[in-house]
């Protein structure tokens, strides 16, 4: 259905109502309004939908392996709403962002195989990016 189809449903209803309500009492006009002037339903929109939950796109759920790890996390990040209907949430993630930026810049590297973090001494702003260690070998690329 196009835009015009919606418009046509109201054609001349207003004019008809004005003609029929002339000279009638207040109460009769109210009754006539209810009989003649009910609104049409909007036609459906069938094209591409848009994003309706902006914040959800920027959120992520993290499930910890056990309560001990959860409590470790909670000691460093303020977890609010624990156990309440609104759900657990972290509002201040500055520490996390800082850590990720150091990881991204190469100041810290993550040795996934050995489960270690290493400080490389690379200053932030250096042109070299150091990829994470892979099988013990360190790769450099400019």
């Amino acid at each position: 259905m196009g835009i015009d189809d919606f418009m046509s449903k109201t054609r001349s209803k207003s004019k008809q109502f004005l003609e029929q309500s002339r000279g009638k009492s207040k109460e009769e006009v109210r009754e006539l309004e209810q009989q003649m002037l009910k609104p049409a339903t909007l036609p459906p929109y069938t094209k591409e939908q848009a994003n309706t939950n902006v914040l959800a796109d920027r959120g992520v759920k993290i499930v910890f392996p056990d309560m001990e790890t959860f409590e470790l996390f909670a000691r460093h990040f303020r977890v609010r709403g624990v156990g309440k209907a609104v759900g657990n949430a972290v509002t201040d993630i500055k520490l996390l962002i800082l850590f990720l930026e150091h990881l991204e810049s190469g100041e810290i590297v993550y040795d996934k195989e050995n489960g270690r973090l290493e400080f490389t001494g690379v200053e932030p702003g250096d042109n070299q990016r150091v990829a994470p260690l892979d099988g013990g070998k360190q790769r450099r690329r400019t």
Partner: protein, 453 residues
């Protein structure tokens, strides 16, 4: 239901202003009251539901703003966080203060305590642009007349006087404890004579009450010196407790309605949700009368109702002027909202035949307060929201989600009931809405009504 008792101030400060929930199409989103309650007893009052009739409020305690702190903030020296955020985003650029959102600036509480008087003096000294929406007769007291006369030369104040019927008798039935229509017209006259911009605020326009004697009321208001008319129809909230139901029952008798709930439910579009505003066919004849009257007399026509919003002749549906040479600060309201853009779309269509498309970024532009999370806490949607979402929520996100959600009553398609229709998505993933010309526009144009003003 707890009634207001007495006019004595309690301890504690009232926090105002706040951001209006009518943000999507409001030119003055900074809404202000200097008391937390109003002493007037208008049966139709929508604020009643949120204030003394609010079931979560167990005791009504009258509080006021701290005048000294508020004026300091407006002068660029805020003393607390709340004032600092308004100072940063609004006071620094002298954004227009709209006074009278949920309470009357000149009601009995003001007559008893004179808090507002001190604040008005301060606003005058600062040449701060302020629009009053009022019907109380405290404005006739000598001190208030003197202060408004004192600042009349700089014209930083403007006034909307609420009048909903031509008849003093009908007014006394519907607006308990409020000065009659004649007295309010006298207030318009007094302020117009001082040289101020005055507006007839036909809000709410109640079918069955406001239509009686409408022609005469418009003429009387014109004779009193109005420069604009602002109109919005009475709506019935679907959430009605005992207090509201009693009021609706009383109103329905005067309106000529047998069953208030059925009348408003039958005649209100479902897409608009539980705040039942009737539909444009029911309203057309009254809007037409006001639009033609304004055109004939060169008045600003302000349609605050979502139906016929496109007929606004300035970008502010409170009938504030686009241009005000006497004091350009009164132009400090925002065009980054749908009233302005819908008005422009209507004018473009009738001048050129082109149906304009509106994008989210095009309508809401760059308003700094929309991106400050601190302001989002004024919105009712934060209730039951988790803290992480709440800490990151902004008014712009709220607007965007309504804009894109075709099930939301605040979506432009639903709110204006078909006046704007979604046609596609833009490069940002937001819906694009197109102006939808309607049957009445062709009919009015054929009758010789100017649709381009």
């Amino acid at each position: 239901m707890v009634e207001n008792k007495g006019a004595e101030l309690s301890s504690g400060e009232y926090n105002s202003p706040r951001i209006s929930s009518e943000l999507p199409d409001c030119s003055m989103p900074m809404t202000f009251d200097h008391f937390n309650y109003c002493s007037l007893g208008c049966l139709y009052c929508f604020a009643y539901f949120f204030k003394s009739n609010n079931p979560s409020i167990s005791k009504v305690q009258l509080k006021s703003i701290d005048v000294k702190k508020k004026l300091a903030a407006m002068a660029g020296k805020p003393t607390n966080k709340q004032d600092a955020m308004f100072a940063e985003h609004f006071y620094a650029r002298k954004f227009l203060l709209h006074w009278g959102g949920l309470a009357d600036p000149f009601c009995n509480f003001e007559k008893k305590n004179n808090v507002g008087l001190r604040f008005i003096e301060g606003l005058g000294e600062l040449n701060y642009p302020t629009l009053f929406s009022f019907k109380g007769d405290g404005i006739f007291e000598k001190d208030y007349i003197n202060v408004f006369e004192r600042y009349s030369r700089q014209k930083n104040f403007a006034f909307q006087t609420s009048i909903i019927t031509n008849s003093d008798k009908l007014s006394s039935i519907v607006e308990i404890g409020v000065p009659p229509t004649s007295k309010r017209l006298a207030a318009i006259s007094m302020l117009s004579d001082m040289g101020y911009w005055t507006i007839l605020r036909l809000r709410p326009f109640i079918i069955g009450i406001s239509d009686e004697g409408l022609d005469e009321l418009l003429e009387r208001a014109l004779a009193a010196g109005i420069r604009g008319v602002s109109m919005e129809f009475f709506a019935m909230d679907g959430r009605a407790n005992v207090g509201m139901k009693d009021r609706y029952a009383w109103l329905s008798k005067v309106m000529g309605i047998k069953d208030m709930h059925k009348y408003f439910t039958d005649l209100s579009p479902k897409e608009r949700g539980g705040y039942k505003r009737l539909n444009r066919m029911v309203k057309e004849q009254y809007v037409k009368k006001v639009y033609q009257f304004c055109a004939k007399h060169g008045l600003v026509c302000g349609i605050s109702d979502p139906d016929f919003k496109e007929l606004n002749t300035s970008g502010s549906c409170c009938a504030m002027p686009d241009l005000y040479k006497a004091n350009p600060l009164l132009q400090n309201w925002t065009k980054n909202q749908l009233t302005y853009h819908l008005k422009e779309a209507r004018k473009t269509y009738h001048k050129t035949g082109k149906c304009v498309e509106l994008t989210f970024n095009g309508v809401y532009g760059e308003e700094t307060y929309l991106d400050d999370p601190r302001f989002a806490n004024d919105h009712v949607c934060v209730i039951n929201m988790n803290y992480a979402d709440r800490a990151n929520l902004t008014q712009r996100i709220i607007l965007r989600e309504g804009w894109n959600n075709l099930n939301s009553p605040s979506n432009p398609r639903n709110y204006f009931h078909g006046k704007l229709m979604p046609v596609r998505s833009d490069e940002n993933g937001d819906l694009v809405f197109k102006y939808n010309p309607m049957e009445y526009e062709a009919r009015w144009a054929d009758e010789g009504i100017n649709m381009t003003r």
